[in-house]
């Protein structure tokens, strides 16, 4: 039984923002796969839920002339998995979406809800961090754009101002020689450790690496030291560089113990998964 609340159904972002500002104890609601769960468990209590499903502007995937992909925040996982634009530009995201939670979550859960909830095991958050995606927010104070790294502040904490909504996720077009891969190990539904790698190779040399490690800490982080160890390396010498970089990946953040997976084990997994992600990104090079 969910505690009683009132349901509101705005049809524009401005209307939703206004409701959020004026209604006490209110929360935004899209798929409810996280929100209704915590409400049912009694971990959170809201007097008003603002249903975002009837706001057309929060739905859909578009590509601009420059080739960057804009995913409206309310777009559900299943739709991203099947998007031809996403599959063409960033197949790793489509593949990731095919494995988020379970099909019931994927058919109603949205990518924006996933990011705003900021569950530390989020699959999309780690990949979007590696991809250097930008997040668009809109509220009473106007619009702003923010990097994923600045948006996810900690466990269940994201940088959303009062009355503000996450409206879209923008992935830049892949630059020349750029590929993206995601690897995870999940002992249960949520990943125990995950690593995303954006790799740029020009003339046989790795010119840029963005490794992001997820799930093992309280928020996804960039593994900058490990990424640096892979940068400037000829592709032919990548295996040796991976041996050096792997142990550094788990040093990127404070790793937490969880039931069934010690911090030490998860740190090790991060290194192994980073190697797999780098190899997978290399194999995607045409």
């Amino acid at each position: 039984m969910i505690r009683p609340f009132e349901l509101h159904r705005p049809t524009t972002i401005a209307e939703a923002s206004g409701l959020l500002m004026t209604l006490p104890e209110s929360a935004l609601y899209r798929g409810g796969t996280e929100l209704l769960q915590v409400m049912k468990l009694g971990l959170a209590r809201f007097a008003h839920l603002i249903d975002l499903k009837r706001i057309p502007a929060l739905h859909g995937i578009t590509t601009d002339e420059a080739g960057s992909i804009r995913i409206a925040a309310g777009t559900v996982h299943h739709e991203i998995e099947r998007s031809t634009a996403v599959r063409a530009a960033w197949p790793a995201l489509a593949e990731l979406e095919r494995h988020v939670a379970n099909p019931r979550v994927r058919s109603i859960g949205s990518i924006g809800g996933n990011l705003c909830f900021a569950e530390p095991h989020s699959d999309p958050a780690a990949l979007l961090l590696a991809a250097d995606a930008r997040l668009e927010l809109e509220g009473a104070a106007g619009r702003r754009t923010i990097a994923v790294d600045d948006f996810i502040l900690g466990p269940l904490e994201s940088d959303v101002a009062p009355g503000e909504l996450l409206t879209a996720i923008v992935l830049p077009a892949p630059a020349a020689g750029m590929t993206l891969a995601y690897r995870r190990l999940a002992l249960a539904e949520r990943p125990t450790a995950s690593v995303a790698c954006r790799l740029t190779v020009l003339h046989g040399v790795v010119v840029e690496v963005r490794l992001a490690v997820g799930a093992i800490g309280v928020r996804p982080v960039l593994a900058t030291v490990a990424s640096a160890a892979l940068t400037g390396v000829p592709v032919t010498d990548l295996e040796e560089a991976i041996r050096v970089a792997s142990p550094l990946v788990g040093q990127a953040c404070e790793v937490v113990d969880e039931p069934g997976a010690s911090a030490e084990y998860r740190r090790h997994l991060a290194g192994v998964l980073a190697g797999r992600a780098v190899r997978a990104a290399t194999e995607l090079m045409a």
């Binding site: 039984m1 009683p4 796969t33 209704l36 049912k40 299943h78 379970n102 099909p103 019931r104 539904e189």
Partner: protein, 160 residues
């Protein structure tokens, strides 16, 4: 807390229902419509025993607000049947492969398989395992469930 009047289609029949905002679809199906096939296991969207289809896609009815059914087509286990009025091929395959023991998870498992087969025409074993990984069976009938799905797929292809 006011009730809202919603129109929805459940198993091919249109219904007008008065639902409170905090009513879940599962509560409405079971308590208002006496459709007790979907059952509450964990109650928080993890076990899959309350799986029903909304516009063909599987959802946890325990975590879906009843008001979300407005204007949608809901399919529960009670709505399944073959063209000749007998058991749906998935139900028949579960019987033939003995793909259940206590039966608690079975209605949700079958609805998840319906979702699987609407997404994949001929799923591989890996795809079947992956898709059904969110439906838990404490009796451990998983291998029989997979065999049942494979027999449905094989039957569809031999009929084609």
């Amino acid at each position: 807390m006011t009730r809202r009047l919603i129109e929805t289609t459940i198993n091919g029949r249109s219904h007008e229902l008065a639902v409170k905002p905090n009513h879940t679809l599962l509560e409405t199906l079971r308590d208002q419509l006496q459709l007790t096939g979907a059952v509450e296991g964990c109650g928080v969207g993890v076990c899959g025993s309350c799986t029903v289809l909304v516009d063909g896609g599987p959802v946890s009815s325990c975590l879906t607000l009843a008001s979300n059914a407005e204007g949608r087509e809901i399919t529960t286990i009670e709505g399944l049947q073959a063209a000749d009025g007998g058991l749906d091929p998935v139900q028949q395959a579960f019987l033939e492969q003995q793909a259940f023991q206590c039966g608690f998870c079975t209605t949700g498992m079958i609805m998840a398989v319906k979702g699987l087969l609407s997404t994949y025409q001929s799923p591989t074993e890996a795809e079947i395992r992956d898709y059904l990984s969110g439906n838990l069976c404490r009796c451990g009938t998983y291998s029989a469930v997979i065999a049942a799905v494979q027999s449905v797929v094989a039957q569809v292809h031999s009929d084609a």
